[in-house]
């Protein structure tokens, strides 16, 4: 899957989890840029990403994800 498709799929996931159709992802985006990104929404987000991309994250990997760019990179490595 090329990066563009990953971004499109990820955008759908973010819009669903944060219930906001206006979300446009960019690689520098972090939790502070999106309303309601707390521990619960974070869990739901990771669960949905694992489900939709059929991948599994290790805790070590999750704790390195400090922006959307890192998230896209690691998804690309795993698919």
């Amino acid at each position: 899957m090329i990066k563009k498709n990953v971004i499109l799929k990820l955008t759908d996931i973010f819009r669903e989890i944060f219930n906001n159709e206006d979300i446009i992802l960019n690689i520098k985006m972090t939790a502070k840029d999106i309303d309601n990104w707390d521990s619960l929404t974070h869990m739901l987000l990771i669960a949905k990403i694992e489900e939709k991309f059929s991948i599994k994250f290790k805790l070590k990997e999750l704790n390195k994800l400090d922006n959307v760019g890192n998230l896209i990179e690691i998804i690309n490595e795993k698919i």
Binding site: D38, H42, M43, I46, A47, L62
Partner: protein, 220 residues
């Protein structure tokens, strides 16, 4: 009482007391434990999950052993405060906590949390980056009113060099916890925001439908 107080940084040996502290703080003097309600888990499973998350030993949130100072009287733990500098590890505490819970929580529980998310989302926890966050406070009933909270918080603030770093300190409190709010106000905290849910169903999942953010400014 206060002269007998010994304050130590928490270690793995204190995990059970930290779990007791987290559960008491979450319940907020009610019978509602949000971890049980939101993830549909019984109390022993909640304790098991909290233990697992704490033993991962990842810093930077309320599920990190290193966030805690424990107050002992005659070698027995009687009080704890879990606090950390928000974002110091490079990630917000909400992300760290979410990661730890995600790796420890049964898939069905996450699915259940999603099904009720519209009810609970109005009172989401807002974290203030580059501030000192008080996440968990617990003083055993018998030991309240002796200044133990103030003493442990003072040591936390000194250990984390809050004044040198010019960091503000903040805390989230359910609005019905009047005694806690009064204690914070007495110690220089002021309310900066109140979140409220108008959804009646929220009372089934959280101890109260309103939550305040109180802040103590070290600098403007």
């Amino acid at each position: 009482m206060i002269e007998k107080l010994e304050i130590k940084k928490a270690t793995e040996k204190d995990v059970d007391f930290i779990i007791e502290s987290i559960i008491a703080a979450e319940k907020n003097n009610t019978a509602i434990l949000s971890y049980s309600k939101i993830f549909k888990l019984n109390i022993s499973k909640v304790k098991e999950i909290l233990k697992q998350t704490l033993l991962y030993n990842i810093d930077g949130c309320e599920l990190s052993i290193n966030s805690y100072l424990i107050g002992f009287i005659e070698n027995k733990p009687v009080a704890s405060i879990g606090a950390w500098i928000e974002g110091k590890t490079g990630l917000p505490s909400s992300t760290i906590k979410g990661n730890l819970l995600f790796k420890s929580m049964p898939a069905n529980s996450i699915k259940y949390a999603k099904s009720i998310f519209n009810i609970t989302s109005k009172l989401y926890t807002e974290y203030l980056l580059n501030s000192f966050c008080i996440g968990v406070v617990f003083i055993k009933k018998k030991y309240r009113g002796y200044g133990i909270f103030e003493k442990i918080l003072e040591i936390h603030i000194n250990n984390n060099k809050i004044f040198e770093r010019k960091l503000n300190t903040y805390v989230h409190v359910f609005s019905n916890n009047i005694s806690a709010i009064k204690t914070y106000e007495k110690n220089g905290f002021v309310m900066i925001k109140e979140l409220e849910s108008n959804n009646d169903e929220i009372k089934e999942y959280l101890p109260f439908h309103k939550k305040q953010i109180l802040i103590k400014k070290t600098y403007d």
